[in-house]
Amino acid sequence: MSVRIQEADFDISAEIAKLTAGDTGIGAVATFVGKVRGLADGVALSSMTLEHYPGMTETELGQIESEAKDRFKLSGSLIVHRVGTLRPGENIVMVMTCAPHRGDAIGACEFLMDYLKTRAPFWKKQADARGEGQWVDARDTDGDAAKRWQTNKL
């Protein structure tokens, strides 16, 4: 289980290789990558800037990973979240889970993303073509996605 916050991009293939190296008990690896979209509510973006709360981010993400470990039979997991200014098409976040079986890997990957979206202290500010900045509003659908897991509790 590990968490990284970085400005640099990540390489999925390299991360899978590291996370699964030497563990032939792993039968399933699920990966989610979130990317900067070029349009937000119909407005073309020139960039997206991500700010976070150093220290609290790691604490929250570590807790979310620990909850995922309690709910799913996992062999390992990794969360990498980028900060700084990103262009449309660039990667923002990666969540990777590995497990003996696919249900646990996919379920945990979805769980981690849902909770990351609603609990990890990151904030996005988008800039349009003229460089005009606007803070992104939290989406109700993200709160709903995370709430699913509360009624689903094991």
Binding site: L50, Y53, G55, M56, P121, W123
Partner: protein, 93 residues
């Protein structure tokens, strides 16, 4: 549970995203008046500080708080917290 602390405490206040932009600073050391016990007391006090804090705290319901990296509700006691953060709902991922 203590009703009111007996002495003033110095804490670090941190601001993120639009709270930071409106406040015009990202962190400061502040000595809190002795009658500030809960998160709600603190938010109410911030609104009285004037200057840039007036705009930053104009919509207090849109602001979340964390004490020492842990989310808190408005009735949480500040207690021995050393770092208090103010920020909008998160939008990462």
């Amino acid at each position: 549970m203590q009703a009111t602390p007996t002495e003033a405490r110095t804490v670090t206040l941190r601001y993120f995203a639009w709270v930071r932009e409106k406040a015009g600073l990202s962190e400061e050391r502040v000595t809190l008046p002795a009658d500030i016990v809960t998160a709600a007391d603190l938010v109410a006090w911030m609104q009285t500080r004037g200057g840039t804090f007036e705009a930053a705290f104009a919509k207090p319901d849109a602001i979340r708080l964390a004490f020492d990296h842990v989310y808190v509700k408005r009735d949480a006691h500040i207690g021995a917290a050393r770092e208090i953060a103010f920020f909008p709902p998160v939008t990462g991922g």
